[in-house]
Each structure stands twice: as C-alpha cells, then as structure tokens.
Symmetry: C2
Subunit: 228 residues, 2 copies
DNA sequence: AAATATTTTTAGGCAAACCTAAAAAAATTC
DNA sequence: GAATTTTTTTAGGTTTGCCTAAAAATATTT
C-alpha cells in the first residue's frame, strides 16, 4: 500500500461512513461532513479518482473502489485501536478519546498498529462499541439491531429472532426469512410502522427482487447485523 | 502554547540538536540535517522569526529563542516518551523505535503526553539513554562523561571526580575547578590529548574568559553532565 | 415543457513548504 | 587589499489543499 496524506485519508474515511447508510455519496454531504466547501470536495474527488480510490463521474456522485474500501478499513482500524488504548490504558474518558484518535490514526506504520493490537489483546470493539477491523481488514458487523432500527437501504444479515413460537416460525417460513438471510429495509410507513423490505437471494440472479411487507410487531422480533 | 506544523516542529527540533554542539546554527548545517535545500531553510527561518521562535538576522545564522527552546523540549519529550512506549510496551527493537516516534511526536495533545508519561511510570531516559524532559520542560542532563569524551563547545557542569587524593584536589583548587563548575572544551590537542577548556564564571561579566590547559590524565578524572 | 432552484463543477487565487537558478554577502586565498 | 570561493539570500516556480465567485448540469416547480 502506498502512502496517503492526512487529507486524503480523512476524505476516504468520511466517504466510508456516509456510504454506510447510502451506497453512494454526494458532494454536498461530504463537504458538510468534512466542514469544507463543495468545490474542495470536487478537487479531491478528481485526485482520488486518478489514484483509483473512488469511482467518480462528474455530476453523478461517487463511491469507494475496492482499494478505497481497504484503505478506509485500515484507517478505521487505526482509529479504533487508538481509542481503545486511550480509554483502556491511559484512562481517557469516552468523550475525549475520539479527538485524540483523529490525530493518531494518521500515523501509518502497519507494524505499529499490529503490535498495538497485540499489546491490547486483539480487542474486537472500541470504547463506543464499534467493531475494530482485524489485520486483514475483516470487520465484525456491528451489534445487532431489530429491523425497526435498521437504517433504510442498509444491507444486513438476520442473526436472531426473539420470539421462537410455532406461529412466529410459521410466519417467517412463509416470508422466506431465516437466520443468515440478507435483506435491507426499503421503506418505512409511518401510519402503522410497517416496513417494506427486500431480500437478497444468494444464488438467483438479481431478478426476483420482490418487496415484502413486515408488520411492526414482527419487525421488532427480528434482529440483524449490518453487512459490509 | 499555539499549534505548529509538522515542518515547523522538525526545524525547531533540528536547530535544538545542532545548537547543542555549537550554540548558533548555520543555514547549510540545518539544510543538511533536514535533507532540504538552503533556500528552504531561509524561507522557514523568516517564518520562525515572525513567530518569535528563533533569533535570526540575515547572513548571521540563528539560534532558538526562549519560546523556541521550550517548544523543542516539548517535542523531544513527546519523541522520547513514544520511544520508551514502543520499546517497553510494544517490544520494538531500539533501532526501529526512532522512525515511528518521528511521526508520533507531532501529535500535539498535551494531555495525551502527560497521561502517557504517567502510564509509563514517569521514565527518565528513553531506550537510547537520552533523558526525557518532564512536564515543565525540565530535562535531566545526560549521563556524565569525562572531559576527554565531552564534545567541543558543549557546555557542561562538573559533577564527579574519580580520584579524590590530596594531590588531585590541590590541582583542582589551583585550576579553580570544583563540583558545579560550568565549562566547555574549546580544543583538543592530538599530540598529548591535553585539552584547552574555558570556565564560565557565574557572577563576573563575560570578561576573564581565559583558557586553561588540562592534561590527559587529569581530564580522565573529571566528570561532567551536559548542560541545557 | 418552461422557469426556477439546487447541486456540482470550473476558473482563478491564496498560503505552506518545497524547489532551481541567479544575485548578494561573507569568508578565504592569493 | 583584490580576487576567488563559499555561504546565504532573493526571485520566481511547483504542488497540495483550501477558498470565492461564476458557469454548467441536474432537479424541482409550476
């Protein structure tokens, strides 16, 4: 991996965070997140495109390339390991931890981070409960949430069902939802808090993307972990 | 204390190190130390002068101001504490430690450094044996060396005499050297390894700067600690 | 679909930190 | 002390990352 400037790293990280709830990111969003101006974002996007860290076409938003995602995970790994260190070893409070880690995360020695990881005992979550990517960029999905709390368009994997009654399982079977099913919430109807979800079929080509409706009561019993 | 750029901090640190064996630093020396060009050094000196970190007059070299010295000690403190951390906690080898600390030293949170210091048990020397400045910028003088090993023009304070015989003390008395005397070696004669030293009189104005000659035998019995 | 509003990009500038080449000052040699 | 060499500074240029203001593209109203 090459070496990137603090500024480049901050852009990559910000795109990653915004992308989480969206997939693609806009110029204005990113400018707001980074407290800079849209024109500066455009400048940087051109640069990151030539470095192959983002896919970008003028006027059509951008998203991280595979290399961009890898880099983002490296930076997040650094950030969260330092946060863990600051809270656990130096006894910083949770609120103070973030600002200092913002600086430390740009020190780029891989060996430093891997040794820090080992020294800390390979922690899996930072003090805020966010998962820490491992040496290979593998990141555990966040803590599970019920479908009601899942952000729109956030791909997630079903991992828990709180009510395991026969009736419940019958309903789940009918809706073709099981442990490990990957889905995303496409809409939330405020009238009755029912959800419209899409299930991602593993084998079948991306056809058959029919939406399924889930009642509020059911949605509160199904838990999932964020993907990606 | 204000915030300084990584580049500014590197200049200040470099001046401090060169100054150690000289007092005043030249443009070319500094350019060599920082692996940059003399013209760039001149640029930066103008800037550091307006920030009152150095005393500088075109064509006449420069030296750190009091604020500059304070800043240098803060940076050295950060550097050496990180070195200690890397070696002691993360099990880096002595040689690896320096390069990583070069990056970490520019993270400027005072609280971080003071908490790190505490976490490490207030170490007094880094893995290379160099002293670590304390929270107030107080730095212990380095390990003592005999006059024979003192670099030229390095101000030092006499702190130990290995042979305390009557003859020895008589000679020291005659040369007006005692515990606490501040001196520097101005020349070393290779013919007989005798030294020409200057004693700094505390009270008297900087007049009376007569040089004294010290034989090799005597010089090996007088120990001093680096000043400043 | 035309007019308006919003978003995004382009154009041109600025400061930091570097560079090269030429000029000026200081040091050294003759 | 005049001539030469070395050191240092000035002048002008580059890249990075930011800015403002104007132009272009897209989205939203009417």
């Amino acid at each position: 991996m090459l070496n990137y400037s603090t500024s480049e790293e901050n852009y990559i990280k910000a795109i990653f965070h915004l992308q989480h709830s969206d997939g693609t990111v806009t110029t204005n969003e990113l400018a707001a997140e980074l407290k800079t101006k849209p024109a500066s974002v455009t400048d940087m996007m051109k640069k990151l495109k030539t470095k192959k860290l983002v896919h970008y076409q003028a006027y059509h938003g951008f998203r991280l390339s595979n290399d961009g995602k890898k880099l983002a995970l490296i930076i997040i790994r650094r950030h969260r390991l330092w946060e863990f260190f600051l809270a656990e070893k130096l006894k910083f409070s949770w609120e103070e931890v973030h600002a200092v880690a913002e600086d430390l995360e740009h020190v780029s020695s891989k060996k430093l981070i891997d040794k820090l990881d080992e020294y800390l005992g390979f922690p899996r979550f930072d003090p805020h409960g966010d998962p820490i990517p491992d040496m290979n960029g593998k990141i555990e999905s966040s803590k599970q949430v019920c479908l009601q709390d899942l952000p729109l368009n956030q791909m997630a994997t079903v991992c828990h069902v709180s009510d395991q009654s026969k009736e419940m399982l019958e309903l789940l079977g009918h809706k073709k939802i099981a442990m490990g099913t990957r889905l995303e919430v496409k809409r939330r109807f405020t009238f009755d808090n029912s959800l419209e979800i899409k299930i991602r079929q593993p084998r079948k080509a991306s056809a058959d993307q029919s939406a399924i409706n889930i009642s509020e009561q059911l949605s509160k019993n199904i838990f999932a972990k964020y993907d990606e």
